[in-house]
Amino acid sequence: MDKKYDVVIVGGGPAGLMAARVAGENGLRTALLERKKTITSSRRVDGGGLSPINEYICGEKLAFNPKAKRIGFPVNGFSVKYDGPYQDMYGFRIFSPGGKMISFGDYEKVKKDPERNRVGIALDKGVLLQGLLEDAQATGVEIFPNTNVTAIETGENSVKVTGNGEPFEGSFVIAADGINSRLARLMGMNKDRKFIATMVDRVWNLEGIDLPEIVGISFIVTDYGNFFVSRVCRKGHYHVGISSYDPGDDLGGRLEKFVYEDPVYSHWFKGAKKTDEHTCVVNLLSPIQEPFKDNMLFVGDSAWLMEISNPFAIMCGWKAANVVTLAVLDGKLNKEGIASYLQWWKDKFYGPHGQVEFKPLHLHDYLDAEAIDYLAGLVKEPLISTMNFYKLFGTIGSTYAQLFPVIQEERPDVMEKLMCIANEMDEIEEKARKAGFPNR
């Protein structure tokens, strides 16, 4: 017998669980399908983040109150519980092969009022999901863990998804199945999206070290790979990882080299204990301009280019479930019924950020270590304090654009190579596309 719901939500991450809670609170007959058996077992370990905060982005300015154990969304007017460990994040830092640093944020100033100056917070994603799951369960929504969705059948004003061979029919489906969304692929949403690259990551969780240099997320450019070291929710724990746009790269070997043998950075990790290893495969496709087709609404990462981050996924789930509720109550089981979600997406997400150009560039393929050290050494003052990736990219671009006359004067050889990168960008992009697996 077919099960019939007002809304079927696919994916039990932050977007899907928030959508389930709101749909349940609003009295919709709601089902949530999740492929993991243990919904709260995040494979990113401590990888939960709440950023950026203390600035407006996508129409919201987040608030975090550890005493009330809640994360507030004051513009949109709701909050979610979070009863777990956390650490403040103060910004990005970029390190060059020889140890030069570009810093986002003035830490002398930050120290005077950390709560107001922090730009992000590291959370335990499992705890965040646990809070969302408990609140969703309390509303009586039906939750189906260990359920793999393999097919979709669209109908007149309804959608049927197949999970573990069983049909789940909803007036609407909310696709919250993440960055490599299967539903987006099955619905043909990826055909018009620009394929940028298949990005692969390998990350170690290291414990028992103290790195005062790491005040948020740091990117370390070396001549054998792009690494990152990040603060996580627990003191003394760090994530150390490598990212590549070529899945053929030997990530494990390079990460070992970085942690144990790098002449400049391996001292950071002396005495550290490796407690976990995790991985990530992300197909980077340009964002979906209009995330709706045949009564299926794509929310959170399923419609985005890179991680939209936890709070914005939660916002998408909250908004989508409220809009779907109104569509059901008004009897408008169609695009007109959910039009205000598409308008919100256009105004707050796609409009301001959807056109961002993401370049799959490994700097060390084009510049030697000495040249990267020289370029990093040019930026002596701290740049703007932020954990907003769009601001990071924009600030780097504008900072170096201003420095071009200096580089031309001091190091015409480096300037020539930079011009070369700009001229060869089409080939650089093509190389990344060829190494990847678009899987449209």
């Binding site: 492929r35 993991k36 058996k37 243990t38 077992s41 494979r43 260990n146 793999n148 393999t150 993440g178 490599n180 299967r182 298949t198 692969v200 990551d201 390998r202 899945p247 053929g248 990530l251 494990g252 290893e277 995790h278 991985t279 990530c280 495969v281 992300v282 197909n283 697996f437 899987n439």
Partner: protein, 57 residues
Amino acid sequence: MVKINSDLCTVCGGCIDLCPAIAISMVNDVVVMNNDTCTECKICVKVCPMRAPYVEE
């Protein structure tokens, strides 16, 4: 035949997401290959950061 070495697998789900044949799934939080639907395109073998999927002749 493509198999998955569960000792290496971190259950990130990358191969599940990129499998064009929808032959890989998660059962009880373990990544499982369905060799009846697998077309042996080997994308999972190439994309896995842990090199957990492998070809068994």
